[in-house]
């Protein structure tokens, strides 16, 4: 059963530029387990949308099946949502995006939904550089069916029952980089300061923006021996950068230590400010991102932050050269060629 949250907001909180309060971006009360990492990610999505002053109806939220895919009811109640079938969110989003290129598409998936049943659709959405934000709430296990290892579970990670995972884990961010995804990053549900600006930047990116968010499962995969537990992640986290996203219109500037800061300008003039923590890494160089990821992994570290961004990203509509007007607004007069054209077509069949 879904419960509607009271639309209470603190009087000191101001509405954003488009006149919405933060509460306008919330959803119904979550039915996930208390302490679930996914709820923090939902909170980050609410925060990001509020801060960039997005009108909620300009976003569509879509998901597959699983705990993660339930979350779209827990944020953005004023947006249309679509909880589809297991592993197939990318195809639904592709169709939706084809119909209306003007909305922001926020896809939410899990590690089972993406790395197993939905692997095919995930990689093909990357291949098409579909303009969407694709968030994986990655906890390394299947929650709703009571804790089986997922395909992203690390090799050797020991489950609650004491069994060691004999299979190699699939690194979705590494895979996305390999497939030339145009925006790739990893974050942690417990690091809102990093996650919120990353979501904002992903929304501004005109192409496939992939965020693999480590999100511990408090019920089935938070034992100390699991590499997805809060304690393990906190102990092994390492960031590429201190990160901030600055929308084009904003005048906020963040001061970064001299010599370390980098700036990435997005297509709409928005900027990502980065304070690089690794000198040999450049966010617009895919090879350095791949190297950086492998290097961190070899040290047993979980690398978070933005890995890579392609600033010349062209999305599927650009590749296909579709009209600027959303296809779903074209009318019969724009679409139906009429009888006289049909009569000349008939002539070619005689």
């Amino acid at each position: 059963m879904s419960y509607v949250k009271p639309k209470f907001h603190h009087p000191s909180l101001k509405p954003n530029k488009v006149g919405y309060n933060k509460a306008d971006y919330e959803g119904v009360i979550s039915t996930l387990c208390a302490g679930c990492g996914h709820d923090s990610i939902s909170g980050a999505i609410v925060q990001a949308c509020y801060e960039i002053s997005l009108e909620p109806h300009r976003l569509a939220k879509l998901s597959g099946i699983g705990c993660s895919s339930k979350t779209p009811t827990y944020f953005l109640s004023n947006s249309h949502g679509f909880n589809s079938v297991h592993g197939r969110m990318p195809s639904i989003t592709t169709g939706a995006n084809m119909a209306n290129r003007d909305l922001i598409y926020l896809g939410v998936s899990g590690d089972g939904d993406t790395a197993s049943i939905g692997m095919g659709q995930f990689v093909h959405a990357i291949r098409r550089n579909l303009n969407m934000v694709y968030i994986v709430m990655n906890n390394g296990c299947y929650g709703l069916t009571k804790g089986q290892d997922s395909a992203t579970a690390d090799f050797g990670s020991i489950s609650k029952a004491g069994e060691s995972n004999p299979y190699q884990g699939i690194d979705l961010a590494g895979l996305a980089l390999e497939l030339n995804a145009t925006f790739v990053g990893r974050s942690f549900s417990g690091d809102k300061n990093q996650l919120v600006p990353m979501i904002k930047a992903a929304m501004a990116h005109p192409g496939f923006a992939f965020l693999d968010v480590i999100s511990p499962c408090v019920t089935f995969n938070n034992n100390k021996t699991s590499t997805r537990s809060y304690s393990h992640v906190r102990a092994h986290i390492e960031s590429t950068s201190i990160f901030d996203f600055v929308p084009e219109q904003d005048e906020i500037r963040v001061d970064y230590p001299e010599g370390k800061s980098a700036e990435v300008e997005l297509f709409d003039g928005s900027k990502i400010h980065l304070s690089k923590l690794a000198p040999d890494w450049n966010p617009t160089d895919r090879f350095s991102a791949v190297n950086r990821l492998h290097e961190a992994k070899s040290r047993g570290q979980i690398l978070t932050g933005l890995y890579y961004i392609n600033t010349e990203s062209k999305d599927l509509h650009e590749m296909m050269n579709t009209v600027d007007t959303p296809l779903n607004t074209l009318q019969q007069k724009d679409l139906c060629p009429g009888n006289s054209k049909l009569q000349s077509i008939n002539k070619t069949f005689r």
Binding site: M1, S2, E55, P56, H57, R58, A60, L62, P72, T73, S77, N78, S79, H80, G81, F82, N83, S84, V85, R88, P90, S91, I92, T93, T94, G95, A96, N97, M98, A99, N100, D102, L103, G120, Q121, H124, R128, H317, M320, N321, T322, V323, D324, L327, N328, L330, Q332, D334, L335, C336, P337, G338, N339, K341, L342, Q343, I345, N346, F349, R350
Partner: protein, 606 residues
């Protein structure tokens, strides 16, 4: 030898090797007959292969206008050594076997009751053309010239067809004419022509067109305003996608910007293809996919979502021989049950059954209107024969007064004027069809959460039994509404006069219409009906009620359509007889005629 002259009633078959360019030569032959005003029905019998396997092209020429397949080959052009033995055997007694006499025909291929006509096709080609690839291509044109002369086909008409074929490569026209003439001259010098079986110009074609059903479906989708097509290659549906793209490039380019007013996405598989369609229609565009039986099997989960979450889908199923990979290049009507009840749980889907290219066009447009009106999956059930073979058909027509029925979609203004809270699954009008909203319509009103889980009138998740029942019972009521919206059947008599009724659908119509005449000639009076939709229109129920016995003619082993009728209309199975054909070739009138005699215990027919 029978010297009786037979005009405009013959079957000509070409036996070729696939990948050798024979198809376009054979098509030019068929088109020339059509241009002479004679009804013609070509069928391409091809292998699931790119190059090197046997392929046949069969042309039925019928002055009476019968367009179904007819057994009995009058003249066979046999130029494939692999299939020669079988090809010689397939000629009907007294028929003609045209072969390449560049090499001697072995004695084992000689039949006493067949007339042999040797044309040194490859020898002539080698003599006149130096390039081996051209020799192969012109060999085809040489036999077209020879056969045309033997059958009295108007040479000028063939030349006209050749000229049109090579309109964009005019350099190729003279050598083709030359090859044609080589065949013509050889026959004139060596044989008596025309043969007793021959064609003569007539005026039995009128304003008809000759086109395949897949092209017709693609044009229908364009005229219906489809802007998104998502698909995965599968025979025999692929040419729908190809035609959609080809015609969109002509009809759907924005004149000012050169940009496309359509999105054409080749998906990674059929699951993704229908997922994209659902995403697009959910977001307010008209979208469709085209596939065949194996693709529909893969799409099942999403079809259930479309049914339960009430999202329009237009799916064109061009049936092929099943089960499994089956006979991918042969025809059947064997996806009736799997389409009607696709997906798990209690589901039912609207089906429309065209039988001609003109109807493929019309019913594709109807399918879009029905899908939007009923907010569910509508499948157009075609088959390989209809989809991939050229059929003589009424021309396509578009009524300029026709308006798309986009169904119950609320605009921002509608939402502002609502007096009660918007409920996505609320039956406001009593027809069990709720209103929907498109994402992005209104800043604060009309958003809802689409889900495949059980939901209440306001799209909220619920596991309560009574909520579930309200929803699925409304869907059952919506099915009743569908019955009043689906296309009517076609009946072939003004008044029922027989205790027997023949019922059929789709491409079976060609043979069934001819069978009616055969039955009449034999003094058997039978009423006929062609069903065009599922759920069954009330007229179908009335027709069945008016007859003691119903003979269901269909092209599958298990009499699926018969089962559907008995099950859905709750009728006594004993009243239903079957005439079945499922060897992968289109059913013939002779089969129907013979089997009807058999099932009714009437006189045996040879």
């Amino acid at each position: 030898m029978d010297e009786e002259i037979v005009v405009n009633d013959l079957v000509v078959r070409f036996a070729n090797v696939n990948g050798t360019g024979s198809a376009s030569a054979n098509e030019m032959f068929a088109k020339s007959i059509f241009r002479m005003g004679i009804p013609v029905s070509p069928k391409n019998i091809f292998p699931s292969n790119i190059q090197g396997l046997p392929t046949w092209y069969e042309v039925r020429i019928s002055g009476k206008g019968y367009l179904g397949r007819r057994a009995g080959i009058d003249l066979l052009v046999g130029i494939n050594p692999q299939s020669l033995a079988r090809d010689v055997k397939s000629v009907k007694p007294g028929g003609y076997f045209v072969y390449d006499s560049s090499k001697k025909l072995y004695d084992e291929y000689i039949r006493e009751d067949v007339n042999y006509i040797g044309i040194p096709m490859i020898a002539l080609a080698m003599e006149h053309y130096p390039n081996p690839r051209l020799q192969q291509l012109f060999k085809n044109i040489i036999y077209v010239g020879a056969v045309a002369t033997l059958l009295n086909v108007d040479l000028d008409v063939i030349k006209e067809v050749i000229a049109e074929q090579f309109e964009k490569k005019p350099k190729l026209i003279p050598p083709n004419y030359n090859a044609l003439q080589l065949g013509v001259d050889y026959v004139k010098e060596h044989y008596t022509y025309p043969l007793p079986i021959r064609v003569e110009k007539m005026d039995a074609v009128g304003d008809a067109i000759i086109v395949d059903g897949n092209t017709a479906c693609a044009l229908g989708a364009i005229y219906a305003g489809a802007t998104v097509m998502a698909w995965y290659p599968i025979t025999p549906s692929t040419s729908i996608a190809k035609a959609f793209e080809t015609y969109c490039k002509k009809l759907r380019i924005d004149e000012e910007t050169g940009k496309k007013k359509y999105a054409f996405v080749q998906a990674e598989d059929e699951l993704a293809a229908i997922g994209m369609v659902i995403g697009a229609t959910w977001n307010g565009a008209r979208a469709f996919t085209a596939t065949s039986g194996p693709g529909v099997s893969l799409m099942n989960e999403f079809i259930g979502l479309s049914y339960f979450a009430e999202i329009p889908v237009v799916l064109i199923n061009v049936e092929r021989g099943g089960p499994s990979t089956g006979m991918p290049t042969r025809t059947q009507q064997a996806d009736i049950i799997s389409s009607a009840y696709a997906s798990h749980g209690d589901t039912k889907h609207v089906l429309v059954f065209p039988s001609t290219p003109a109807e493929c066009f019309d019913l594709t447009v109807v399918a879009f209107d029905l899908a939007d009106r009923l907010q569910t999956t509508v499948m157009l059930i075609s088959d390989l024969d209809l989809g991939m073979n050229n059929h003589m058909s009424a021309p396509f027509a578009w009524d300029e007064n026709r308006k798309y029925d986009l169904g119950k979609v609320l605009s921002a203004e509608d939402l502002d004027n609502l007096k009660t809270e918007f409920g996505r699954y609320n039956d406001v009008d009593g027809d069990a069809i709720p209103y929907r909203t498109i994402p992005g319509t209104h800043p604060t009103k009309g958003s809802f959460f689409t889900r495949g889980t059980s939901h209440d009138e306001f799209a909220k998740y619920s596991e309560l039994g009574e909520v579930y029942l309200r929803n699925v019972d409304r869907l059952a009521a919506k099915w009743e509404t569908a019955k009043s919206l689906v296309p009517k059947p076609e009946v072939y008599q003004e008044k029922n006069t027989s205790e027997y009724g023949m019922l059929f659908f789709g491409t079976t119509a060609y043979a069934a219409i001819e069978a009616m005449d055969l039955l009449k000639e034999n003094g058997i009076d039978i009423d006929s009906i062609r069903v065009r939709s599922f759920p069954f229109h009330k007229d179908v129920e009335d027709f069945i009620a008016a007859h003691a016995k119903i003979i269901v003619v269909e092209q599958n082993r298990d009499a699926q359509f018969r089962s559907l009728l008995i099950n859905e209309l709750n009728l006594d199975p004993k009243r239903f007889l079957s005439v079945l054909n499922y060897d992968g070739t289109p059913i013939t009138a002779h089969t129907i005629h013979a089997k009807i005699n058999q099932v009714l215990n009437l006189v045996p027919v040879n």
